[in-house]
Amino acid sequence: MTALPVLATAGARVFTGPLRVAEHEAVNADYRLMRLEAPPTLTAACAPGQFFHLLCPAEGRHAPLLRRPMSIYGAEGDRLSFLYKVQGKGTAALATLPVGGSLEVMGPLGQGFRLDPGWRNLLLVARGVGLATLAPLAAAAKAKGMGLTAICSARAPEFLMSLELFASHGAEVVTVLDSDGTSAVEHLDPMIEARMAAGAVDAVFTCGSARLLRLLQALGDKHGVPGQVALEQQMACGLGMCHCCVRPFRRDGATVPLRVCREGPVFDIREAVA
């Protein structure tokens, strides 16, 4: 990791401060893409799968108190970007930020995806907001000379996102939809299994769907294909201090609570309790 801009005091490794909104637009009816102007030392320190903790502005008479976690969607040069869905008051407030406005961010935080140098072919299966988290894997895989297949699942064609981003990094893109039934487990299962059986998958990555997680756990077990999953949980501190973001994981034969913000958000796919 490159050294980060030193903030208030010596020894700081996590950036905390305001960044300027450079671009902010709707991607489709549900999602918005926000690009912030960031010091290149900061974007260079970001790894796929890590997240930032964002201090959403006030909206109307009620301000969201706590920060909101968002995966790094892109971190290149002087641009740090987030792809997000407006859910509740925090993200609704975020959506009101004008270009030129400023946003308090803290990050990068958490453990990102780990890419074993021996892997040649990666498969990622993403749905909904999971795409925001998995997308940066495309650039990382390309940089390491790995092949990547992205199975992108969505309700209908107009909700597909980031296809160009994957394609631009040379990934093979497969789209599956609820609207034509192709996203059903019964369809995905043989499709993925065939690739695994053919030895065309060294590792799988997923985020955003419990159903896909269970499918990949089962197929991975069967074919000995390792994998990683990025998980979500409500957060207060984002740093590991408050222990509010725990989820249960299977580790050493027991079920243990681990902090999504600190031990995650990326976990070994076999450990996740789906």
């Binding site: 208030a8 020894g11 996590v14 905390t16 009620h62 108190l65 949980q233 201090m241």
Partner: protein, 322 residues
């Protein structure tokens, strides 16, 4: 630092019982850990107060463990703990790199267990013990020790016998007898009062009709709590001669000053660190700058300087008019 030429720097130090702190700002238990060292230099703090520990490992409460409410948050983390032995082996050594008093917060279900745990954590490297007596006492039907003067006196006396370290008692707002409880701590030999913990609260998701906390109830913290714990800090400073450490809803320099003026000698910052991880250094520097601007030589000169409430008779306009 930063004092203009010819003007003496503000003396930021405060005394809490036997301890001298380099400044009056420290974290509140449960809102601080080693990880914050990645954000700023923890050596700048007045003390390091750690998350409450228990003797045995515990997993804590079911999720969701926090939820937002107007002006604050509720938490029902429980006290997940790796147990005291793991704590002494792994956590205490981390803090030895700082020249900052380490305060260990402890909790137990009975007075006897409290005493045993206090004795166990009275080791080199630990500067004081904060007894989280806001936790349920199984000998009193699950009521927190600090709800009543009697159970407070009992547990504090046991603790006093068990350790020679400075002993801080963390009070609860879930009582109608704050002054009496504070006096009980003083009588039992406590060295300071931490005022206060969270107040018991609840929130419901009206769509699902489910509680918004996995534990059903939890503690309210953040700005909404401040007027309540500030009132308690004032009551405690009046009722005893123990140093009071104000805690509850402190987010700004002004908040910290309210507590000092009302009688607290130091303050703890909790929830605000989640919102602004640099809150504590910001408040330390802000207090210094404020004292300098107001010509106050030592930060402790603010302590307990609350003036009379009475408005001058017959003021007709609220704005000063000549």
């Amino acid at each position: 630092m930063n004092a203009p030429l010819g003007r003496p720097a503000v003396d930021m130090s405060v005394r809490i019982g036997g301890l001298t702190l380099k400044n009056p700002v420290m974290p509140a238990s449960g809102t601080f850990s080693e990880e914050l060292a990645e954000v700023f230099d923890l050596g700048t703090l007045g003390a390091h107060v750690l998350k409450t520990i228990t003797r045995d490992p515990r997993t804590g409460n079911p999720t969701p463990r926090v939820t937002e409410v107007e002006g604050g948050m509720l938490n029902a983390i429980g006290i997940p703990s790796k147990g005291v032995e793991a704590f002494l082996a792994k956590v205490v050594p981390f803090y030895s790199r700082y020249d900052v008093p380490l305060v260990v917060s402890i909790s137990a279900p009975t007075s006897a267990d409290f005493a045993t745990l206090a004795a166990r954590v009275s080791v080199p490297g630990v500067a004081a013990i904060e007894a989280n007596i806001s936790c349920p006492n199984i000998e009193e039907d699950g009521r927190a020790f600090a709800i009543r003067p009697g159970s407070t006196r009992e547990v504090m006396a046991r603790l006093r016998d068990a350790t020679d370290l400075p002993l801080w008692a963390k009070l609860t707002p879930n009582t109608g007898e704050t002054p009496e409880v504070a006096r009980a701590v003083e009588e039992a030999g406590g060295d300071a009062l931490v005022v206060a913990n969270t107040i018991l609260a609840m929130a419901v998701d009206t769509r699902t009709r489910r509680p918004r906390l996995g534990n059903l109830m939890g503690g309210l913290s953040g700005p909404a709590l401040k007027p309540i714990t500030l009132r308690m800090a004032y009551q405690c400073a009046r009722a005893t001669s123990l140093p009071v450490i104000g805690c509850g809803g402190i987010a700004t320099v002004d908040d910290a000053l309210e507590y000092l003026i009302a009688g607290a000698s130091a303050v703890q910052v909790g929830t605000e660190t989640f919102i602004d991880p640099l809150a504590m250094p910001r408040i330390i520097e802000g207090l210094r700058a404020r004292a300098e601007a107001e010509g106050v030589a030592a930060i402790r000169d603010y302590v307990g300087t609350l003036a009379d409430a009475a408005e001058p008779e017959g003021v007709v306009f609220m704005q000063a008019a000549p």
